[in-house]
Symmetry: C2
Subunit: 407 residues, 2 copies
């Protein structure tokens, strides 16, 4: 398994595009297309929010009931959430328009939106955008990169990755892209994430792999604790790698799961590190927990703590807030048995043990916490389970970005 | 029932003091004392955090096992949390010193601390402070106010209230004080809250009343989602009002509960409105919910949403974030049936209904959201239950205060 250049166009048979459609803002790419030359097996996970955006409702239908999918149309700027009947009609119009131009059935066209909640999407702009997308589509790395740029909102960097692995004697490629970077606290999956692959896999096994994966990738990140109305992860597999179809667990399935996890973890970390206003990626790794569930709960509680996030922004080794966040997570443990370390490329330091502060150097701790990637390592001394969660610091810019996001 | 001047010294037989003891900072009052002339029935609720500060462990013993309590010693500056055996020894030394000077048993002296986690309290400073407190104690309103000032940390205003009511033909007085204002997301009770009363009530009925009360008062506020290691609410009743002892439910019990709720709600709202960096009190009232539990969950989800809090700071009617927060709360509902209003002293405006945005004036909405107390009113149209939660906006100053709190 190795990382290669590119994103959603890296796998065989996938084209993409990103264009300016002025959905809400001028002079920036705000519509993206992914299309496969062959019909795709599709799997997806969606927000657990009761308030689901119209595209989420549309895509759920397709993922659960359509025989295959072949294209995805995405817009940024307007989320098409809390938009009632008109919002659903917009999804259908999008899918119909793209389907006609691409010669695929309407119910094989997935749609996704991200941006302001509550506004209606201007359908004429969407259909004009789709025409531009279909004209612009290409299987080049640049086209994939254009798509990754077009789905950005408050993201400061585009997020894409591609991986090559061998499955059943064939070279299989996976490519992915995603966007953050506010209202990020995925529950079942992330804001918007798209993975394309040429692997040959059954729908059932693809969904199984995706559902198991998000629990330890996208569901382990948080920027602000707000689970969006639009969270969507879609994985399209067109089978063009030519491997024997994966229809059961086994070596091939495991290899594919590993490759997918590499993609999703990479994208999830990118999303956390590029959280709104973030200056640092803040990782919390919990080891020797009593259960996997406890490990996840503890790790996520720390990266979600506003006070801890603000301390990371200030490069302040205010470790009491981490103990506090572990304590209110809901997992049971004895604080006297916990060891806490801070770690970064500048070094590793033992902060807390035997129920009290260790005799550490504040200067050294501050140096470690000033790096752009900082890890809190928590040893529970209870069992064999471990989990890692990723978040970011809480900065002035998070407030700035969100105090007047709509204007 | 009427509000009167004063705080913890308003009820008969209670004295208080607040002095400078230089526990961590110079030139500010940082130790407080409450003492009753007669032994008190005591009730309390404490943090649900697994990591409990030493004073919490000390007080839980007394509330659960001592026949009575008579004094409370509080310090700010250092939380005495994550301090191991030495922290517990400090509590005992405090109680012993105060007990000797006040001539009450050691196990009738409650202690409470607030401030930085992980540092040890210098015992010599604490005992010197207790001597000053015992010399300074008085039953004046000023002494109560001194105590309320001494327990402040990042609070910008001291928080106290007193109420007079009639129970069983006697005038009964209740007085209270509390402090916030970060790491505030009480679970069982608040950061530090103290209520004194001269009511005559059994221990069992007092605890029953307090436990029921916090669910809709202190447990309905949040500043930053972080449930502290030190959360403590103590209620001391010395019986000096001379009413017939309340030993069962009935009119007297109900009257007392109402008066207590007036005190706790007042203090809880003050705490939320004075949250770290806050410029506004943000109230969310959920009506016609399917159950009381749902109503509480929905209301609290909204006031805890970082994105909503940032929008309130920006006076931005970004109501989609409120719908989003209702949606991920865990309560089940149909977004099409929800009505959302914004309300303040400047007016009331219908924002969302029938699944889509109402045709409201952004200018009017901004005017309402610019007031120092803002309410989001959510009508679920499902049942008869309602609940109110209180939080505050998320400002640059929250980040500033918490990025380097320890220095």
């Amino acid at each position: 398994m190795k990382q290669i250049q590119g994103g959603v166009t890296a796998a065989k048979g996938f084209e993409a595009a990103g264009v300016e459609a002025a959905i809400k803002y001028q002079n920036r790419k705000d519509m993206a297309l992914i299309v496969s030359k062959a019909p795709c097996t599709v799997a997806g996970t969606f927000t657990s929010n009761v308030v689901k955006a119209a595209p989420v409702l549309w895509d759920k239908q397709i993922v659960e009931h359509s025989a295959f999918a072949q294209a995805v149309v995405v817009n940024s700027g307007i989320a098409n959430a809390c938009t009632g009947r008109q919002g659903l009609d917009c999804c259908e119009a999008e899918a119909k328009c793209a389907g006609e131009l691409l010669d695929v059935p309407t119910d094989a066209v997935l749609v996704a939106s991200t941006g302001v909640i509550g506004m209606q999407i201007p359908v004429d702009k969407i259909t004009a955008g789709i025409k531009k997308l279909v004209t612009a589509k290409a299987d080049t790395l640049e086209a994939g990169s254009d798509a990754a740029h077009a789905i950005m909102t408050t993201d400061t960097i585009s997020k894409e990755i591609a991986i090559e692995t061998e499955i059943g004697g064939k070279t299989v490629t996976l490519g992915g892209m995603c966007k953050g970077s506010g209202m990020i606290h995925p529950n079942m999956c992330t804001m918007l994430g798209f993975v394309t692959t040429d692997v040959n896999i059954s729908k059932e096994m693809l969904q199984k792999c995706v559902s198991a994966d998000v629990v330890d990738s996208f569901n382990m990140i948080s920027v602000d604790g707000d689970t969006s109305t639009n969270d969507t992860l879609l994985v399209l597999a067109n089978g063009m790698a030519g491997n024997e179809e994966i229809t059961a667990e086994g070596e091939d399935y495991d290899n594919f799961c590993k490759a997918l996890h590499e993609i999703t973890t990479f994208l999830a970390k990118k999303m956390a590190g590029d959280g709104e206003g973030a200056t640092a990626l803040f990782e919390t790794k919990v080891i020797h927990a009593a259960s996997k569930e406890d490990a996840r709960t503890l790790a996520k509680s720390v990266i979600c703590s506003s006070l801890t996030k603000a301390a990371i922004f200030g490069h302040d080794a205010n470790w009491g807030r981490i103990l506090c966040a572990l304590g209110y997570s809901g997992a049971k443990f004895d604080p006297e048995n916990v060891d806490l370390y801070f770690e970064s490329k500048s070094g590793k330091i033992h902060i807390f043990g035997n129920g009290v502060a260790c005799d550490y150097s504040e200067e050294e701790a501050t140096k470690i916490l000033s790096d752009p990637e900082v890890t809190a390592l928590v040893d529970m001394h209870m069992g064999d389970a471990e989990a890692t969660a990723w978040g970011c610091d809480l900065s002035y810019d998070y407030v700035k970005i969100n105090a007047d996001y709509r204007s």
